[in-house]
C-alpha cells in the first residue's frame, strides 16, 4: 500500500476520533465524567444528517449544519433531563446515567430505522485524486478539512469569547467560577451542547466512511476514548493529537502488518505508551477523586 494513501485515510479517521475525543474531554473536564453515551450522540448526528440529506434532499452543508444544531440541542436536553438534578451525585452514579442513556438512545433509533444498515453517500461524487502512486478520496480530504475547521473554531471560542473563558474557568475551579458570578448551570448546559454538537458533526462526517446503523457509535466511542486517554484526558490538544495518532496507527498497521488486528492495533500501541507515560502524552499527574 502507498504510504501517502494510508496517511490520508488515517488522518481522516483520526480527525473523526479527535472530534469524538474532544467531546469526551469537554464533558470530563467539566463534570469529571466519561460520557458513555457520546457514541450515540454521534449516531444521532449521522441519522439527522442522513434524514436531511437523503430523505429530505437538503443540500449537504445545510444537512451538516442542521445535524450540528440539533446535536447541540440534544446535548442541552440531555443535561437538563438526565443530569441537572443528579449533578451532585457520585461520579460513578453519573457514569451509570450515561450508560443508561446510551442504551436508551440506541433503542430510540431502532424505532424509525430498525436494525438495517444504511449507506450515506459522500458529500460530492468527485473522482479519487491520484498523486503519483497515491490515491486519495475526496471525502477524506473533506473530513480532515471540516474537522480542522471545527477544532480551530473551538480554539477561538475558548480563547476569545466570554462564554468560552467562563467554561474554562468552571473546569478549573467551580467555586472560583461561582465567586466571579458565573452562572455555572448555564456553563454546564453549554458544555453539553458544545460536546454534543461536535459529536453530531463527527457523525455526519463518519457516516460515509463507515456505515449508518443504530450501534455505529460504539466503535467511535472506543476509538475516541482511546484518543482521549492517549492525550491525557484533560488536554484539548492532547485529544486532537491522540485522535490523529489512533487513526494513523491503525491504518499503517492494517496496511503493512495485518488487517486482522487492525481494529485493536491502536489499543496495543496505547498500552505501550501508557506503560511509559501513565498520564498520557499531554496529561498532568493523576489526581484521584474517590
Amino acid at each position: 500500500m502507498n504510504l501517502v494513501t494510508l496517511l490520508v485515510a488515517g488522518l481522516a479517521n483520526g480527525s473523526l476520533y479527535a472530534l469524538v475525543a474532544l467531546g469526551l474531554v469537554l464533558i470530563y473536564k467539566t463534570h469529571d465524567l466519561v460520557n458513555f453515551a457520546h457514541g450515540e450522540i454521534l449516531m444521532a448526528g449521522g441519522f439527522i444528517g442522513f434524514t436531511a440529506y437523503q430523505t429530505m434532499h437538503l443540500p449537504y452543508p445545510v444537512a451538516f449544519l442542521l445535524a450540528i444544531a440539533l446535536g447541540g440541542l440534544l446535548g442541552a436536553v440531555i443535561e437538563l433531563v438526565a443530569f441537572r438534578r443528579v449533578a451532585d451525585q457520585h461520579h460513578i452514579t453519573l457514569a451509570m446515567v450515561t450508560v443508561g442513556l446510551s442504551v436508551f438512545m440506541k433503542g430510540i433509533a431502532r424505532v424509525p430505522f430498525g436494525t438495517d444498515i444504511y449507506t450515506f453517500p459522500p458529500a460530492f461524487s468527485a473522482d479519487r485524486i491520484t498523486l503519483g502512486s497515491a490515491v486519495i478520496a475526496p471525502q477524506h480530504l473533506l473530513t480532515i478539512g471540516i474537522a480542522a475547521l471545527l477544532t480551530l473554531l473551538l480554539f477561538l471560542f475558548f480563547r476569545y469569547t466570554t462564554l468560552g473563558k467562563q467554561m474554562r474557568a468552571t473546569q478549573q475551579n467551580i467555586t472560583g467560577a461561582r465567586l466571579v458570578g458565573i452562572n455555572t448551570g448555564r456553563v454546564f448546559s453549554s458544555t453539553w451542547s458544545l460536546a454534543a454538537a461536535l459529536g453530531a458533526g463527527a457523525g455526519v462526517l463518519a457516516a460515509p466512511l463507515s456505515l449508518l446503523y443504530p450501534d455505529m457509535g460504539t466503535n467511535f466511542l472506543l476509538k475516541g476514548f482511546a484518543a482521549a486517554v492517549l492525550g491525557g484526558f484533560e488536554s484539548v490538544p492532547g485529544a486532537i493529537i491522540g485522535g490523529f495518532l489512533v487513526g494513523i496507527i491503525e491504518m499503517l498497521f492494517g496496511g503493512y502488518v495485518s488487517t486482522a488486528f487492525q481494529q485493536v492495533s491502536a489499543f496495543f500501541i496505547i498500552i505501550v505508551i501508557l506503560f511509559i507515560r501513565p498520564n498520557g502524552l499531554f496529561g498532568r499527574r493523576a489526581v484521584a477523586r474517590v
Binding site: Q172, T175, G176, R178, L179, V180, G181
Partner: protein
C-alpha cells in the same frame, strides 16, 4: 445605614446544623470583623451570604432586598464579592486572565483595562507576575490576586474569608493596610479572621461567634483590651 442585615440565619451541611439563628448587621462604609474559633461557623456564614450554600432559615437582606435563596451568580450581580478561604483561583490561567474573569460577569459593562490597572496600582507585585500562571504565585501573591479578582467587579460589599491564613507577618500588615485603603475608598467590608490582633486593628465593629451564634458584639476600639473579648473567643 445598614447595608447587610442578617436575622436568625440557619444553615448547615445535611443534618449538621452549623448556624443556629445568627444575626448581624454590616453598616454601609464600615469594616466589620467576624471572629471566632475553628468550627464556629464563620465560613458557613460567608458562604450562605454569597449563595454558595443554601440557608435553611432566617433572612439575609442586602440594600433592603432579600438575598436568601438566590444562586451565587445572582448574589454577585447585586454587588457582593467573596474572597473565599483557599482563594479558589483559576490555577492554570494567568494573573491577567484571572483578573479578567473577575469582571466578565459584572453588573455593568466593565472597562477591563482600567480595572486591571487599578488592581495593579494596589498590588504592584501582581503587575510583575501578569503573564504567570496563578498556581505559580506565592501564598501572599495568590491572596492579592484573589482580592484583586473580587475587586474587578466593583462590588459594593466585599466579603473576605480569612485572608491572612498562612501568610508572613509582613504580608498580613500589608493586607491590613490595603483593607483600610479600600474602605477609605468607600467599600464596605465584612472580614472573617482568625488573626484577632489584625482584625481589631482594621475593623470598626467586631462580632464574635461561637457554636453558630453571635456571643459578643461591639466597637473594635472598645473590645481591644476587653477580657470579655478574649474569654468569649477562647471559650
Amino acid at each position: 445605614m445598614t447595608m447587610l442585615s442578617i436575622r436568625n440565619l440557619e444553615a448547615g451541611y445535611g443534618s449538621l446544623k452549623v448556624l443556629r439563628g445568627l444575626s448581624l448587621e454590616v453598616p454601609r462604609g464600615r469594616v466589620v470583623a467576624l471572629l471566632g474559633g475553628n468550627g464556629a461557623g464563620k465560613t458557613t456564614t460567608m458562604n450562605a451570604i454569597a449563595g454558595l450554600l443554601p440557608a435553611a432559615g432566617g433572612e439575609i437582606r442586602f440594600e433592603d432586598r432579600e438575598l436568601r435563596g438566590l444562586p451565587s451568580h445572582r448574589v454577585f450581580a447585586r454587588g457582593i464579592a467573596l474572597v473565599a478561604q483557599g482563594r479558589a483561583l483559576f490555577a492554570e490561567m494567568t494573573v491577567r486572565e484571572n483578573l479578567e474573569l473577575g469582571a466578565l460577569a459584572a453588573r455593568s459593562r466593565p472597562d477591563i483595562v482600567a480595572l486591571t490597572e487599578d488592581v495593579f496600582r494596589r498590588f504592584p507585585r501582581l503587575r510583575e507576575r501578569v503573564e504567570q500562571r496563578a498556581a505559580s504565585l506565592s501564598g501572599g501573591e495568590q491572596q492579592m490576586l484573589a482580592t484583586g479578582r473580587a475587586l474587578m467587579s466593583r462590588p459594593s460589599l466585599l466579603l473576605l474569608d480569612e485572608p491572612t491564613t498562612g501568610l508572613a507577618p509582613i504580608i498580613v500588615s500589608e493586607l491590613g493596610r490595603i483593607i483600610r485603603e479600600l474602605n477609605a475608598g468607600g467599600l464596605t467590608i465584612l472580614l472573617v479572621e482568625q488573626n484577632v490582633r489584625m482584625a481589631l486593628q482594621v475593623a470598626d465593629e467586631v462580632y464574635v461567634m461561637r457554636n453558630g451564634e453571635i456571643v459578643l458584639h461591639g466597637a473594635a476600639a472598645e473590645l481591644q483590651n476587653s477580657d470579655e473579648m478574649f474569654s468569649s473567643y477562647l471559650g
